[in-house]
């Protein structure tokens, strides 16, 4: 992570290159919107990988991308249904058919059989691949909570999961036959497959990216494709010009200085998780519950912010922390407070050809208190009904500066400026002094009814979460106010 490409400049390439079934494959002609799953099932007749939902929510299509970077081999489980074929450039694709050697099953497969962990079997290939990624990455037997985190993006309708978790435990670190997946190196160079009217491009430097976007301001920017994938599979959009950001050197840079964490737009949510957890355990918990392992392996910080979804979880957390966003157009960069980037529902302050380069997140000072809560119908892998984040400067039990941000309460992630104003000067010990802030939330938001929650529920929860934050800052033990405490550091899933 963060190293970027060190190769000397390679001339542009017009074909993607990856490994599949033990061979190197070059593809120079494919529709830019082709998904990896369609390529596997339709073009290759590789039907072991299943389509369950075509929106990255059920995990039946999970495959593993093995990448080699600077001597390190990483195993990323991803949803093939919403991954674009071009995104496998520089990776080895490992599918469920690759795991067994003849009649000898991989330890994960063997344990799945022993534990009676398949019934109808349709989710099984995806589950095997998620557990395979965990198995190949783990050096110690995984804890049950780690296994459950790993499986949050794999739906099973038959078993009730207990035997699947048992299978992962049984497989533990049991050694398999000799590994036959080596990963693949990025071949370097700018990648441009197609022609000016229809292409899949993956520039390898920020300069060529900027130039390409000036030339094609109408191109669709793709980072992890965890949302764009759905525009294709569900919206049936005929996207013809795609610029993938996954190979841009330096776009996944991380720096940590002057009390700020700077995350490049291309940092995956998986890589951001431990960094954000260091800022505050609540941020780690929000990120643990963000999408699934598959979504976090593909999705990026920049993608989640630039997408502008009113229910993205990262934006309200980072707005409360006071983050600033950096954008670039051609050779020109600018920065703005993150909250100002969100203009209206699905409309951001980003002009054609401009792209997000990084977000800078101020860390907490000793006098700062922070809390974040994600409220959903289902605890894991669910989009927030309400996400609330609070950063208060507390001096002598009194609230000085206050930043409050919510997701799910308006068409955009937004600050609760009235509540921020009214909570100033409130004393943690004096519940009556909270009242102004609690009441003022009604001035800040007029939420909507939708399938996730009613407006009335959202309003009440928004208020209760502010109250809960104040109760916790006053000193209530977390377990008195929460049904699930943030996961201890050692147990959280952290794919390599």
């Amino acid at each position: 992570m963060g190293e970027g490409m060190q190769n000397s400049r390679v001339a542009g390439r017009s074909a993607i290159r990856f490994r599949f079934r033990g061979r190197e494959v070059e593809l120079a002609a494919f529709a830019p919107r082709t998904t990896l799953l369609d390529w596997l099932r339709i073009d290759q007749g590789a039907t072991g990988t299943k389509e369950g939902c075509a929106e990255g929510d059920c995990g039946a299509c999970t495959i593993v991308l093995v990448r080699r970077r600077g001597g390190e081999v990483s195993f990323a489980p991803v949803n093939a249904c919403i991954l674009l074929l071009g995104q496998v450039d520089g990776a080895e694709i490992v599918t469920v058919e690759d795991l067994a050697e003849g009649t000898i099953l991989h330890p994960v497969q063997e344990a799945m059989v022993e534990a009676h962990a398949s019934q109808c079997g349709f989710c099984t290939p995806g589950i095997v691949m998620s557990l395979f990624a965990l198995h190949e990455s783990a050096s110690v037997p995984p804890a049950r909570d780690t296994i459950r985190d790993q499986l949050a993006g794999n739906l099973c309708r038959c078993t009730g999961y207990r035997p699947i978790v048992e299978a992962a435990e049984r497989a533990g670190t049991r050694a398999g036959a000799s590994p036959r997946w080596w990963g693949c190196d990025d071949a370097g160079g700018d990648l441009f497959v197609g022609r000016d009217e229809q292409f899949f491009a993956a520039p390898d430097s920020i300069e060529t990216l900027a130039a390409l976007l000036v030339k094609h301001p109408d191109a669709t920017l793709v980072s992890g494709a965890t949302d764009v994938g759905l525009w294709i599979t569900k919206g049936l959009q005929d996207i013809r010009k795609i610029v993938w950001l996954g190979r841009v050197a330096g776009l996944d840079a991380v720096s940590d200085e002057d009390g700020s964490l700077k995350l490049g737009a291309g940092v995956t949510l998986a890589d951001a998780l431990p960094l954000l957890r260091e800022i505050h355990p609540d941020l780690g918990e929000v990120m643990r519950r963000f999408g699934s392992v598959q979504v976090r392996a593909s999705g990026t910080v920049g993608g989640n912010l630039a997408n502008g979804s009113p229910i993205g979880d990262l934006a309200p957390c980072l707005i409360a922390l006071g983050a600033t966003l950096e954008l670039r157009h051609g050779g020109v960069t600018r920065t703005l407070p993150l909250e100002d980037f969100f203009v209206a529902y699905r409309k951001q302050d980003r002009r054609a050809g401009e792209f997000v380069t990084s977000v800078t997140i101020p860390k907490l000072a000793a006098s700062d208190q922070f809390r974040a809560y994600k409220v959903t119908k289902r605890l894991d892998e669910d989009i927030s009904a309400v996400l609330a984040a609070f950063r208060f400067e507390v001096v002598d039990g009194r609230i000085g500066r206050a930043r409050i941000a919510y997701g799910g309460m308006a068409g955009i992630p937004a600050r609760a400026r009235s509540a921020e104003g009214f909570i100033l000067g409130a004393r943690l010990e004096d519940e009556k002094s909270w009242r102004g802030g609690l009441t003022a939330l009604a001035l800040d938001f007029t939420p909507l009814d939708d399938q996730r929650a009613s407006a009335a529920y959202r309003s009440l929860v928004a208020r209760n979460l502010l109250k809960k934050a104040l109760m916790e800052m006053r000193g209530a033990p977390a377990l008195d106010l929460r049904i699930a405490a943030p996961r201890p550091l050692s147990q959280a899933a952290s794919p390599s």
Binding site: S118, R157, G160, R378, R452, S454
Partner: protein
């Protein structure tokens, strides 16, 4: 057939063998219909859906659809050679809408194209103009309109309303119960391959190949004999592929008939949600009379079901809700009344439990209400009302003969779950914790086994022994993950005394075993296991006679075990005996047939016996509830369940665990949201939330209750498919218990599913 051998003599039955496809599942080598290598020239079908819920069709302009890239044909009702009807019974589910649409997403036309992508894109180019009418979506609108899909029905005993009024204590209330999407991981899919002279082979992901065969023949206007339906396996069914597989199969078949080419339809997940039926929503208006100890003297309940736009299977579904409206409790004076309401929404259908869970949940809700009113422990109220000798007549008049099992099972679970001590600990915790409240509940299940439509309780099997001793097994049951195929194979292997892998399991096929019933009502092993055993037993008898003659011994001295056949001091391998039998011109093939005994329910006179026996179980669940947000976690579950003498304990445990979790999902996170225009807003896993791994408690203890079936079922086992789903009711009751602590003595205003929103508003109401 011979009587059962004692358990210790059984070599294959009762063994925890792995699912027969387990190794294929984990290798991605199990073939589902979309994985079948497509014959050259296969075309793909996509449905075109109604944009509104109800109205008169003014025009359907398909010109842009026809002209779209890759389109080969566009189908509508005019292309149907037979009847425009895919309904299971009542003729009210058209394949394509004509003149009017009756729910949002109803299929109006279909596109046939060179690729699935081209078909889906073309389908969106239609211009469908409908004169929209305000749809009736919810209970109140349906009742106000007063239209039902089927006549009202009721049964009972005595004058329940009068008896409630005369009771020392009374309660009444209204309780709403949400529906449920099946969310089988493999969506609806069919591949139709034309043969010569009008033959058609249809690969269908269906629980009822016979019905698909019959419906396809009806749509194509040909005899059933021209259509063969094959089903190797489904990627989940849960009732959602009983009648609901018909339309997908009929669309593929019609496309194949019109184009003369193989045609496949695999529904997109969102379309699958929108087009196919779900578990019925119910509303229960109840009143109950009882004494100070909570013993019920009278129960009067109106069960209203939201059936959707057509009858489908609503006769049986709502009847089963009524049959289970008493669960395991004796209700002296009782009235169970039902209405099958028509709404302008997708037609609701079978779903694991088939209405039973809804009827059962209502009475369990009432048990909690009685406990809260009397101040007694809900478990004590439940125990006081269980069927017992002399208090053993169900509301429909069938006598419960096995009254001793459930009290013993509950007592055992009460002890092993440490219910009383944990209740005390929870009360102590809740004293000091106003925000996070805990709750516990132990609830029973008594589920009637048999199709309540008597004629459906039949099954066939086809067994061949080949000259090399290998065995071919086929039967009318379908495999949807429940382990039916391995169980039936175990029965056949036991009969022949051979290892399990000598028995070749083959796809369900209407050409091999005809006129079958759907694999439903938990009856798969009971029916098909018995039919297969009858077939295998007949072949075995004939083979035994060959051996007896060969050795000059009486036939009853011949035994089959460990792949050999023994008699006196002689023995021969099973394989050699098969060869000898063939050479002796002895038939080594047999079609077995079984029909369930003792069933004589008469719906018109409301008399007789609808069930052969009952399956029992109980679950104890503990939860924690956040009363500031409504979030909920299940922290421990203990289950004790009665599967009779298990055919395969590993498979049965899998059914119990999976059923419980599915029931828990139904009552907690799984919420179907229809908007005012009748559009389903939760039509994909992003918006419809079934349980994930972290929703299942780490502390999850499941055990089988040792209890041989008193009826002569296959190896004295009991059905297991549906009953465990209702163990999930314990989670709902535990949430009610947690909330009740906020205001003891008051009734908890909580409907199902208990989403965070409903939990929070219930807590607010109790505190307010």
């Amino acid at each position: 057939m011979r009587p059962d051998s004692p358990d210790e003599a059984l070599a294959v039955v009762r063994k925890p063998l792995a699912h027969d496809s387990a190794r294929l599942h984990v290798k991605g080598a199990a073939t589902y219909i979309d994985d079948i290598r497509e014959p050259a020239g296969t075309l793909h079908v996509a449905p075109g859906l109604s944009p509104v819920a109800r109205g008169r069709i003014l025009s359907v302009d398909l010109s842009a659809v026809r002209e779209a890239h890759g389109v080969v044909a566009v189908l509508s009702a005019a292309d149907i050679p037979g009847k425009n009807d895919v309904a299971p019974a009542y003729g009210d589910d058209p394949l394509f809408a004509v003149d009017e649409v009756i729910f949002h997403g109803q299929v109006v036309f279909a596109v046939v194209a060179e690729t699935r992508d081209a078909a889906r894109r073309a389908a969106r180019l239609a211009k469908i103009d409908v004169e929209a009418v305000e749809p009736a979506v919810d209970f109140d609108a349906a009742i106000a309109r007063g239209v039902t899909v089927l006549p009202d029905y009721e049964f009972g005993r005595g004058d329940a309303a009068q008896a409630v009024r005369a009771s020392p204590k009374r309660l009444s209330g209204r309780f709403e119960i949400g529906g449920q999407e099946h969310f089988y991981l493999e969506g609806q899919v069919a591949l139709a391959i034309p043969g010569e002279a009008g033959d058609l082979l249809v690969h269908s992901s269906t629980q009822d190949p016979t019905e698909v065969q019959h419906v396809v023949a009806r749509v194509l206007g040909c005899p059933d004999s021209h259509i063969t339906v094959e089903t190797r396996r489904m990627g989940g069914g849960f009732g959602g592929k009983e009648s609901q597989a018909n339309q997908t199969a009929a669309l593929a078949a019609l496309a194949a008939r019109v184009t003369g080419r193989p045609c496949k339809l695999r529904l997109d997940r969102d379309d699958d949600f929108i087009i196919t039926g779900k578990r019925h929503e119910f509303r229960a208006d109840w009143s109950v009379g009882f004494d100070e100890k909570g013993v019920v003297s009278a129960y009067d309940v109106q069960l209203d079901a939201r059936c959707g736009c057509s009858a489908d299977l609503s006769t049986g579904v709502v009847d089963r809700a009524m049959f289970h409206a008493a669960n395991s409790y004796y209700l002296q004076d009782v009235a169970i009344r039902s209405r099958r309401l028509r709404t302008d929404t997708v037609s609701n259908t079978a779903f694991r439990g088939f209405g039973g869970p809804q009827g059962m949940l209502a009475i369990e809700r009432v048990m909690d209400a009685i406990a809260h009113e009397t101040g007694r422990d809900p478990l004590d109220v439940r125990k006081a009302n269980l069927y017992a000798p002399g208090r053993d007549l169900t509301p429909y008049g069938m006598k419960v003969e096995e009254t001793d099992t459930l009290p013993a099972l509950i007592d055992s679970l009460e002890a092993t779950s440490d219910y009383r001590a944990r209740r005390a600990a929870i009360a102590a915790h809740n004293e000091g914790h106003p925000v996070i409240r805990r709750g516990i509940a132990l609830t029973p299940v008594q589920f009637g086994i048999s199709f309540t439509l008597v004629h459906m309780n039949q099954a066939g099997a086809l067994v061949h022994v080949y000259q090399d001793g290998s065995i071919h097994l086929n039967h009318g049951g379908t495999e949807m993950g429940q382990g039916l195929f391995i169980k039936v194979a175990q029965v056949v292997a036991e009969e022949f005394g051979v290892p399990i892998d000598w028995v070749r399991i083959t796809p369900t096929n209407t050409a091999k075993v005809p006129n079958t019933s759907p694999t439903a009502a938990s009856s798969g092993s009971d029916l098909n296991g018995m039919a297969a055993r009858i077939a295998a037993s007949a072949i075995r008898e004939r083979m035994a006679q060959v051996a007896a003659q060969m050795w000059g011994l009486p036939v009853d001295g011949v035994t089959f075990r460990e792949g050999r056949v023994f008699g006196g001091n002689e023995s021969i391998s099973f394989r050699d005996l098969a060869r000898r039998a063939r050479e002796s011109r002895v038939q080594l093939s047999e079609a077995g047939f079984y029909k369930t005994p003792r069933l004589d329910w008469d719906r018109a006179t409301k008399t007789g016996r609808p069930f052969l026996y009952f399956a029992y179980g109980a679950a104890c669940s503990e939860v924690a509830v956040d009363t500031m947000t409504g979030e909920m976690r299940v922290t421990r579950v203990d289950i004790l369940h009665d599967v009779g003498r298990s055919l395969n304990p590993a498979i049965d445990i899998g059914q119990i665990e999976g059923g419980f979790v599915q029931g828990m999902g139904w009552l907690t996170t799984e919420e179907l949201v229809f908007d005012a225009k009748g559009r389903l807003r939760t039509h994909a896993p992003s918006t419809y939330k079934i349980p994930v791994a972290s929703d299942v408690p780490d502390d999850f203890r499941v055990a089988l209750f040792d209890n041989a079936n008193r009826e002569d079922t296959i190896y004295r086992s009991k059905a297991v498919g549906e009953p465990p789903l209702m163990l999930g009711i314990s989670v709902f009751s535990a949430i009610v218990d947690a909330l009740h602590g906020l205001a003891p003595g008051r009734q908890v205003p909580l409907d199902a599913p208990a989403t965070p929103e409903r939990i929070l508003f219930a807590a607010e109401a109790l505190r307010g």
